[in-house]
């Protein structure tokens, strides 16, 4: 009797171990947080130097259309207009997502509702395989396959927003599809059964019941794919034409934030305006992925209600 009372009042070995484990796992998380914060601070300090040290006007940076940080305009202000890249990034991302969404949904529906067995067997391994292909390989395939096709269809050089979006479409398709599959799988079974029991055809069941209730999850998958597309550099750089010009159309060469950042960073000198301006682009990328994240959270929250 008393021994039980005592053991209840004393901290047991399991409790001590548990506390220890809690501390250990928390320090692992803390480590990640330190890494994240230091990278944020690093990018922010470099990226903000453009505005504070080099006195570039933030508005000029965001709305300027001429990107040539080494040169100055008539007023002696450096030409650091990032609008072409911002526009380019948004266009390729949006188009890639717009094209990928129906494909991803269609494939996911096929794999969960029509042929679940083949679905899991094919898609899983393929997805895992495709993430391992270096983006430079995607770039070269884009260069040797997509660009000539674009040239054939639209004329011109073939390089441009469309070509970039197509490469991104292929790159994000597996991810978006497998996330959509997960969402569809999580729709409760009885939804399907009750819909079919009410006499709905399979398509009505899919369209009116499953896709409706999976909409937030699908949106999250698409936004996630967009975030990935936004941050991709090497592959897009090879097919978009990579010219820091405002896109005149979807088939004229333009550029994205990442492509200009990646290719310029080794050719500029740390601490110079040219270099800082590139870090400002990185800062925009960071902020954009923050925005994408907030959107995903908002969708998830709405879906949960």
């Amino acid at each position: 009797m008393d021994s039980i009372r005592e053991s209840l009042l004393k901290k047991s070995k399991a409790t001590k171990k548990d506390r220890f484990a809690r501390v250990i796992t928390f320090s692992a998380l803390l480590l990640i947080v330190v890494v994240v914060i230091s990278i944020f601070l690093f990018v922010a300090s470099k990226g903000l130097a453009t505005f504070f040290t080099n006195k570039v006007n933030l508005w000029d940076f965001l709305s300027g259309k001429k990107w040539a940080p080494g040169q100055t305009n008539a007023q002696g202000q450096p030409l650091t207009g990032a609008l072409p890249m911002i526009t380019g990034s948004f266009l390729v991302t949006l188009i890639a997502a717009l094209v990928a969404t129906p494909f991803a949904i269609g494939t996911a529906v096929f794999m969960t509702e029509i042929s679940p067995k083949h679905g899991a067997k094919i898609l899983g391994p393929v997805t895992e395989l495709l993430v391992g292909i270096p983006s430079v390989v995607y770039g070269f395939i884009g260069l040797s396959v997509i660009v000539p096709v674009m040239r054939h269809i639209f004329g011109g050089s073939g390089f441009g927003i469309i070509a970039g979006a197509m490469v991104l479409f292929i790159m994000i398709l597996p991810t978006v599809t497998s996330m959509t599959v997960d969402t569809l799988k999580s729709v409760p079974r009885h939804y399907r059964e009750s819909a079919l029991a009410l006499g709905a055809t399979r398509w009505q069941m899919i369209y009116k019941v499953i896709l409706r209730s999976a909409t937030p999850g699908i949106l999250t998958a698409v936004v996630f794919g967009m975030a990935r597309a936004f941050g991709e550099a090497l592959a897009v750089q090879m097919v978009i034409g990579n010219a820091p010009l405002m896109p005149k159309g979807l088939t004229s060469p333009s550029s994205t934030l990442t492509s200009i950042l990646t290719q310029g960073i080794g050719n500029t000198v740390m601490g110079s305006l040219e270099n800082n301006a590139l870090w400002s682009l990185a800062l925009i990328l960071l902020l954009m992925s923050l925005v994408f994240n907030i959107i995903m959270r908002a969708i998830a929250k709405k879906g949960a209600m």
Partner: protein, 297 residues
């Protein structure tokens, strides 16, 4: 207007077409790389060291470097990701603002272009901490780049284990740690392994983060010397190590050897096959592990 039956049929046809198209695109992609690359493969190509400007160079050192760097990266990043994932899902107060903030921060890190991570690693580890261009610097940079993804997948895996299991452990007087360590984690092994395989694929294919950290030169290795403290030893973690993906990048962008296109195509095919083999092996291992830990047959 179509009646329900007709639209059902039409929808089915569309779905079949889309799914077929997607599989076709993906299969064509993989097929293209293999068809372009496999003819260039030979034992010599896989084992000899590369050549900067003459034809006939191989990728032996790069292939070894890719695997070795992957292993070192996983050794560093997996325990951290596991710990963080366990804390986030099993210990943290899910409603806490701070935890939500941390989650957001981690996810943002995952969408940062890898070149930024690479440069950060370069300035901090290569230059500041004087680790030089080395496997260690590369592994740390890859860890940074890998952690968000891996932590997230560990967390997701834990989430997929029903709370019923946690309650069962708790009701038997097992501490949370005992429950997580002996019941939840073993049950989550297959899906954690999937996450590891996915992130390993990314590590394999990553070039931009490594150019400035693990470097883009592959000094010849002495495969008879396995003492990790010797400079030419394959196990030395302080030596510069160009990986396969970096090699592909370099050959494509600056390669002046006459057979650059062949080397690049062959290396890409090898990379795909390596990822495939790695996935296969990891799955096999996870099956064995899962069976051992859960005694299910």
């Amino acid at each position: 207007m179509l009646n329900p039956k007709q639209s059902d049929k039409l929808a089915s046809i569309i779905l079949y077409t889309i799914a077929g198209l997607v599989i076709l695109i993906l299969a064509a992609l993989v097929g293209y790389i293999l068809v372009q690359g496999v003819p260039h493969l030979s034992w010599h190509f896989l084992t000899s060291s590369s050549s900067a400007f003459t034809a006939g160079g191989g990728i032996g050192v790069q292939l070894f470097n890719s695997f070795y760097l992957l292993i070192i990266t996983m050794l560093i990043s997996f325990p951290i990701a596991l710990g963080a994932g366990v804390y986030l899902h099993e210990y943290a107060n899910q409603k806490s603002r701070l935890i939500q903030l941390i989650r957001t921060a981690i996810e943002i890190l995952s969408s940062l272009p890898s070149v930024v991570v690479g440069l950060f690693g370069f300035l901090l580890f290569v230059v500041q901490f004087k680790l030089g261009f080395s496997i260690l610097s590369g592994a740390i940079a890859l860890t940074f780049f890998n952690l968000p993804l891996l932590t997230r997948s560990v967390e997701e895996s834990l989430r997929s284990i029903p709370d019923l299991q946690r309650e069962a452990g708790a009701a038997l007087g097992l501490s949370r740690w005992e429950t997580v360590g002996h019941i939840i984690l073993p049950a989550a092994v297959p899906s954690i392994v999937t996450g590891v395989v996915l992130s390993a694929g990314r590590v394999f294919g990553e070039a931009a983060a490594l150019i400035y950290t693990a470097g883009q030169s592959a000094p010849a290795l002495d495969f008879g010397d396995w003492n990790p403290f010797n400079t030419a030893s394959p196990l030395n973690i302080m030596r510069p190590a160009e990986t396969l993906a970096v090699h592909i990048w370099k050959v494509n962008s600056e390669g002046i050897m006459p057979d650059a296109a062949a080397v690049s195509a062959g290396a890409s095919a090898v990379l795909i096959i390596a990822v495939l083999l790695f996935n296969f092996f990891a799955r096999f291992l996870s099956n064995v592990l899962y069976k051992r830990l859960t005694a299910t047959k």
